[in-house]
């Protein structure tokens, strides 16, 4: 098992890793529930961070989804 990439989990959730870094961390996550749960926590925090910009789309957009 590789060392846990703890320093990169936040950047992964943020989408800020370059492709090769992301692939390496993703490979680790497939085998590590601990780091995967960390990524889920970072993602949850980002969802709250982003929620302040929520705004309703035009009603007509729904018909195009």
């Amino acid at each position: 098992m590789n060392e846990h990439p703890v320093d990169e989990l936040g950047a992964l959730a943020l989408g800020a890793l370059d492709r090769s870094e992301r692939e390496r961390v993703d490979a680790h996550l497939r085998a590590c529930a601990t780091c995967t749960a960390e990524v889920a926590a970072y993602s949850a925090a980002l969802t709250v961070y982003a929620a302040a910009v929520e705004r309703p789309p035009a009603p007509a957009l729904r018909d195009r989804i």
Partner: protein, 190 residues
């Protein structure tokens, strides 16, 4: 009792979308469309572009629903991540990226973007987010905003700002740890 009227959670909806249930996709849109559209409007700078990319994003949700993994995070976070990736693709292909990437002072906009008719709980949450973001040292807030709203990777931030990559990484790490510690408990729902 008609089981079809029972409320279902996002994970059940995603399973239905993976089975190509169009109504389930519409339900997901009703739950998360406001967030997706808001994030995309902020990233792309125009409602017209945001509408176009919102369509792309939900089309990708339709195609990729079977790849959703609950252990990686909530459906809402997954949908937003897909939408952000679509926005980054859009910025690259349309060449709109440079105009927005150095817009550092997103904190004020984050506050200003709140809808006047939002419920009180939402206002309290937004106020908490604003306070947490405001507590970040400016250089950490800047990398967070460049990455989240500008769609830049850490190495792109380093290249554009002239800040060493190692420094950018440590700023991102510290900003994310603070967000997680202060906000993650509130993000598990919906």
């Amino acid at each position: 009792m008609d089981i079809s009227t029972l409320p279902i959670d996002d994970e059940q909806l995603i399973v239905r979308v993976a089975r190509q249930d169009a109504k389930a996709l519409g339900d997901l849109y009703d739950r998360h469309g406001r967030l997706v559209f808001g994030v995309l409007t902020r990233m792309l700078g125009s409602p017209e572009s945001a509408e176009e990319v919102t369509q792309d994003a939900f089309h990708a949700v339709w195609q990729r629903a079977s790849t959703y993994r609950a252990e990686r995070g909530a459906v809402r976070a997954w949908v937003v991540a897909i939408a952000r990736n679509k926005a980054i693709d859009w910025m690259r292909t349309k060449g709109k990226r440079a105009a927005r990437e150095l817009e550092l002072d997103a904190g004020a906009e984050l506050v200003g973007a709140s809808q006047p008719d939002e419920e009180a709980l939402t206002a309290i949450r937004d106020e908490r987010v604003r306070a947490v973001v405001a507590e970040l040292p400016g250089e950490q807030r800047a990398v967070l905003e460049l990455a989240y709203w500008g769609g830049l990777s850490q190495s792109e931030i380093a290249a554009h700002t002239g800040v060493p990559l190692g420094t950018v990484k440590s700023r991102v790490r510290m900003a994310m740890v603070k967000l997680r510690d202060r906000l993650a408990q509130e993000g598990g729902g919906q």
